[in-house]
């Protein structure tokens, strides 16, 4: 079972909820896919035992074989290759913009002259460890890198299907989030009852419906803001799994790196109930298929 935790809006409490859910269940593997700022380790405090560098393959052109035909540039979805034909002013040239390359390999595969080889470029690292019975994996994108999906995909290769896998997704609704939640059996959307929270929740719901991933909502700081989020969920028939009140104790514990489930143990029971609902929904979906 893979449960991802996403949000749309940033700062709604994804990591807070994901880490508390992880601590409430047994046999959990926690995967922090927010590789641009992985912070779940602050709350879960795993012992990191394994560090591996992560790379993507980028093209290198052998100029002695290249005929400047432009096929590589044509197939590059990300405009990472420029081909300048021969002219009075030069012999022509292929330019590779490594930081734009997603490492798909199409250019190397389709080069008619086999003039392109792929070379490794380091983009970040993956760390794995554990805390008691909880397994932990996260990715950390190198500073200055603009693209996180290639690293997120590599982090997700560590998924252990025999565990209850909890994926902490990055904020937003763009490629990194889609990459993180893809393949999940269920997605928890954490939101807050504010206009910004609702706006981004609606976007996230649109994304999940397109991906056909079952989802439910947890409303964090539920006693703030307005009732528009509740009304939206009711009108869209979205299950509100849990409401977490705005409490000073939770914020105070957070500031010290302590998840809410540890200072308010009664919440563990609530998270177990949430997980039960999730299991029921996923089972129901599986029966339908």
């Amino acid at each position: 079972m893979i449960v991802s935790v996403a949000s749309g809006k940033g700062g709604t409490g994804k990591t807070t909820i994901a880490s508390s859910l992880a601590l409430s269940l047994k046999n959990v593997q926690f995967i922090d896919c927010d590789v641009e700022e992985p912070n779940a380790q602050i709350f879960l405090k795993p012992d990191i035992k394994e560090k591996t560098k992560a790379f993507i393959s980028v093209p290198r052109v052998d100029n002695t074989k290249c005929t400047l035909c432009g096929k590589c540039k044509e197939v590059c979805e990300y405009n990472a290759i420029a081909v300048l034909p021969k002219s009075q002013r030069g012999d022509g040239k292929v330019l590779i913009f490594q930081e734009l390359c997603h490492g798909c390999g199409a250019c190397a595969m389709l080069c008619p002259e086999q003039a392109i080889t792929e070379v490794d470029r380091e983009i970040g690292e993956i760390e794995a460890g554990s805390k008691d019975s909880l397994d932990f994996v996260h990715g950390r994108l190198n500073i200055g890198e603009a693209m996180s999906p290639p690293l997120i995909r590599q982090v997700k290769k560590h998924i252990n299907p025999s565990k209850t896998v909890i994926i902490d997704a990055p904020p937003g609704t763009s490629c990194p989030v889609i990459t993180a939640v893809k393949g999940s059996d269920y997605c928890i959307l954490v939101t807050e009852p504010t206009p910004f929270g609702l706006n981004d929740l609606v976007l996230a719901v649109g994304g999940l419906r397109k991906l056909a991933i079952p989802f439910g909502v947890i409303i964090n700081r539920s006693d703030l803001g307005n009732d528009k989020t509740e009304k939206y969920c009711a009108s869209e028939k979205i299950n509100v799994l849990m409401r977490v009140p705005f409490k000073k104790e939770i914020a105070l514990a957070y500031s010290k790196g302590v998840p809410m489930a540890e200072i308010m143990p009664e919440l563990k029971e609530e998270f177990k109930k949430v997980f039960k609902i999730i299991c029921g929904t996923v089972d129901g979906e599986n029966h339908k298929q």
Partner: protein, 102 residues
Amino acid sequence: MIICVTSQGNSVESRVDPRFGRCAYFIFADTSTGKFEAIKNPNIEATGGAGPQSAQLVASKGAKKILTGNVGPNAMSTLAAAGIEVVTNVWGSVKEAVDNNK
């Protein structure tokens, strides 16, 4: 000589577009014939790499000089590889820009 100007519109009276890769139009001026040609920039909505794409377009038209506001690093290296002279901080109308940089 063909000079290219990044432009906010499709006429010589239009203002110079300060962006290179995602400018609205490229206007190519042939200084030997006095003719102008405007091309709508197809790279405005590129998810990335608009600079190098635009630079290749400018090169394919045989321009020797580009007049614009500013050029990003990827576009700059593509223009340099194509042997195109880059003039930045250009403003005013396209016509004035060409007249001042012949």
